[in-house]
Amino acid sequence: MGEENVPASIVQFAQLDKLLNLGRANSLWPMTFGLACCAIEMMCTGGSRYDISRFGAEVFRPSPRQSDVMIVAGTINKKLELAVKTLYDQMPEPKWVIAMGNCAISGGPFKVKGNYNVVEGADKLFPVDVYIPGCPPRPEALLEGIMTLEEKITGKRRWPRVHPG
């Protein structure tokens, strides 16, 4: 669990990798990549009420070289497609992608018959690790997305899972 999305390194010890993954999972530095409405909910998550720093992810790095996870928060359209792919390439290797909001999952409200300009989903450009539905998703949903990504990296879930109903 959590091995297939991190390419192999030169030195590999099982226990060491587990420790490394634990460190990576709890200090995910997201890249400020707010495109549209979901960016405002991402800012609210960074605010003091929902407080993303409880998960070690409050350091929003502007440059792709220093960020671990790209939170695609908004709509990708054809003019921005090459820029998004460039940013994904420029991120150093252990990198993950969270598709936040319906637009990043499948084009959302703009996936219509007359759609000439919106890329229908971030997974058409690069592999996406966690999908967060919602338009825009609530800050709690983004936190749940980060917890899911942590579970995907380390293999076990640190926080109790809340089952609705």
Binding site: K78, K79, K113, G114, N115, Y116, N117
Partner: protein, 168 residues
């Protein structure tokens, strides 16, 4: 003399032959009998604009200069695609920035196959981006516009999305 009358008088010089038909509610829409060139007083409560000016494409710059002199500002430029009449229509909206409220709508009809209208970005720099957007969506060519390239679509797009006969 109120602002409305002063503007109407200023514009009237441009259309000496067409007496402005006062009072007819601005039904100069799609199916009304084709209105000849001229000024129409419309009721702002229903239509939002006080004056509805229909003019030739060539007169567009003259109208803009008059309204610039009167202290109006350009609110918006929108293109309309009348597919059934094989016509494009460019709607200019002028409004007052402060003081008494008076909105003037200037419309001009263009032939659909090669729509050309002179640019007014010389008079109102605000028109620069609005005209580029109308060109981007409808393909209406604005003569001697300083930088008429697409503004919202990717530069290499070869279609005009808001035309009625366009479907991706």
């Amino acid at each position: 003399m109120g602002l409305l009358e002063r503007t109407q008088a200023a514009l009237a010089e441009l259309f000496p032959e067409a007496a402005s038909a006062p009072g007819a509610a601005g039904e100069g829409g799609a199916e009304a009998p084709p209105r000849e060139i001229g000024i129409l007083v419309t009721d702002p409560g229903k239509h939002g604009s006080h004056l509805d000016v229909l003019c030739h494409p060539a007169q567009v710059v003259a109208v803009a200069q008059i309204l610039d002199r009167e202290g109006y500002f350009l609110e918006a430029i929108s293109g309309v695609d009348w597919l059934d009449k094989q016509q494009f229509e460019v709607v200019y909206d002028y409004n007052r920035l402060g003081g008494e409220h008076c909105r003037v709508m200037v419309r001009t009809a263009l032939d659909r196959t090669h729509p050309v209208v002179p640019t007014i970005s010389g008079v109102f720099p605000a028109a620069d981006w609005h005209e580029r957007e109308t060109f981007d969506f409808y393909g209406i060519h604005f003569q001697d516009h300083p930088n008429l390239i697409r503004i919202l679509l990717p530069e290499d797009a070869d279609f005009h999305p808001l035309r009625k006969d366009y479907m991706p």
